[in-house]
Symmetry: C2
Subunit: 366 residues, 2 copies
């Protein structure tokens, strides 16, 4: 027998990757990870790290990495934290799971933006808390009244900037507005900032700077092209980390050690981030230009590695059809009630030639 | 706010390591990990593995590792599985958490042997299922009537052989008895066999061979001195792995990639296991000899890396006192209601000189 809420989790999105992997020469906009490999100097640091005994990591992570992660977080306006306020986790996912599971009883509610990254819902299903989705921002970049209502009522609100799947980046005004609103209404704010180094000509602002009761989720995965290493963190007060650590311990024992040596190096010597960001920026510009030639409605992404256009028809049938034409994208439907005619394109995993090739096809097909 | 059951989890055992780490020249029987480092040829394979792109691992793990883990499990009598029946996880802990969390509703009950490895309880608290503990075996190595009753009533029973904290290893008769009993009463059996390569002159038998509805938990941590790599697995039917994978995905995204290359090599070329086992066997023999000189009641460990003697006084005060004499051990109290006068000594983490030194002190103090 299986738990009902776990059993009911749909893995429908897998249909896309399964179909795409069977399609010859398929251009993969569906895969949410960098086309870049982990930088060589980071791999070299991992090799050097192997000289150490590969025993358990301290539960909260290697001190050196906690220091580097704290330094990284403290580059954000209004954030100034020490290493004792960082817990290293098995990826940003491990951090999110620990926070949800440590904080939310079955009757407690988390609120997410509409659209949002699908796994917030999956984490809620496994961790067994209630959740709802509401569009946070109006077109003038102010919190919508409906969003205020939901955030006020929720026990925990997730804000994600730069955002997946939209590439939307909060302005300073927005970061402040949602931070202060959560603070005023005692809603714990989970600020998922795993793409914070990837913005295109705009600044990143942390909503966590504007509320006392919040945590920041960080990760090596996207900013440093280190998805396979499973290294992320949660930044919060030490007494809160102690509660998260119980979940982290019960579900993983501790984060992997060798990955932490690599992460220290990547954070210390990070010129690769600038290079990758430049490449993503170019791809973003190209993608926007090519999308303008189609009859698609979209907001140009300002960060992260995703675009989220409206394609004017059912996202599932559109995506399934397009795979047969050689282009894999993710349907928006699982990402929120308002997104069933939208699709997510990851330009992190595709180069410019692939983008051009795909849009040559799309211009004929759409 | 935090979830009540998470907040109530006691980290009391940490008192031991905190006190011990402040005590100069303390002999650390409290640390449950091998004194050995990961073998050089395994580290070399990790270096070679770095030549691959370090992207996300497949959710169920690298195919090569699934194959090696299946081969490893199939060396056990009555076990014959294929790679499609193995899911790689973030350590054995990740496997256990996935199984508990995928299977047990809040009202469902898991049963553990008394004594048992503490984290089974912690996993249950985080995953929010009921649990109970009962002494499984009588002195003739038969299932006790009380154990039968509990296993019959439970939704899930954990059997751990070789066992932590006792070093107890089930005979073929015992493996069969508990397997067949669980099968007959439709209790799902979780067979935690993470120490299966570490037995001293006795054979390892898998209880999973005797029941249709069971899973095996495996790990690289202790058998191969690879605790820091966080690589383990659960072996079960593919349709069950699909449910576990949802929990694994929600809590970790996927297992770390680089560790999996290392694990493949360790399983393929495993002469290091024999060498480490020989060293543990010698330490076990020495420890048994030295314990015989004390007024301690104990059963000689037949496997794993632990002894669990009865010291004739409160385990907490005994352990706290002994740290001041330079010997760190873990109190039995958190491991089960019958163990409050027992202590766990890990001879995996200590060499013969340290064992002798510690017992020279104990002979004067006890």
């Amino acid at each position: 027998m299986f738990r009902e809420r776990v059993q009911n989790i749909s893995l429908s999105i897998r249909k896309i990757s399964e179909k795409a992997s069977k399609q010859e020469n398929c251009i993969r906009f569906d895969i949410g990870q960098p086309s870049f490999d982990t930088p060589q100097h980071v791999k070299k640091a991992a090799k050097k790290g192997l000289e150490n005994k590969q025993g358990y990591s301290p539960m909260l992570g290697l001190e050196k990495l906690r220091e580097e992660a704290a330094r990284e977080e403290s580059t954000k306006k209004g954030i100034d934290i020490g290493s004792e306020e960082v817990m290293i986790t098995t990826g940003g996912m491990g951090a999110l799971y620990a926070v949800f599971s440590a904080r939310l009883e079955e009757e407690d509610k988390a609120v997410f933006n509409d659209p949002c990254w699908g796994p917030y819902k999956m984490i809620s299903e496994v961790s067994e808390n209630r959740w709802s989705q509401v569009q946070y921002w109006d077109s003038d970049r102010n919190l919508r009244p409906e969003a205020k209502e939901e955030i006020r009522d929720a026990d925990l609100a997730v804000v994600n900037t730069p955002g997946n799947p939209t590439g939307y980046v909060l302005t300073e005004h927005q970061a402040r507005e949602i931070g202060e609103f959560a603070d005023k209404h005692d809603t714990f704010l989970v600020s998922d900032e795993v793409y914070h180094r990837l913005t295109f000509g705009v600044e990143h602002y942390s909503p966590a700077a504007y509320t006392a009761d919040s945590c920041i989720i960080g990760s090596m995965s996207k900013n440093h092209a280190m998805t396979g290493w499973r290294t992320g963190w949660v930044a919060d007060r030490p007494e809160n980390l102690e509660q998260y650590a119980k979940v982290s311990r019960a579900s993983t024992a501790c984060p992997p050690r060798i990955s932490q040596y690599a992460a220290v190096e990547a954070l210390k010597h990070d010129s690769h981030v600038k290079e990758m960001r430049r490449a993503y920026h170019e791809r973003r510009d190209l993608l926007v230009k090519r999308m303008q030639n189609l009859d698609w409605d979209f907001v140009a992404p300002e960060g992260a590695i995703y675009a989220f256009p409206e394609v004017g028809e059912d996202s599932w049938s559109f995506c399934m059809d397009m795979i047969e034409k050689g282009i894999a994208m993710v349907p928006g439907e699982p990402m929120g009630p308002e997104s069933d005619q939208k699709v997510r394109l990851c330009f992190g995993s595709t180069n410019k030639e692939e983008i051009n090739e795909a849009f040559d096809i799309l211009e004929e097909e759409v």
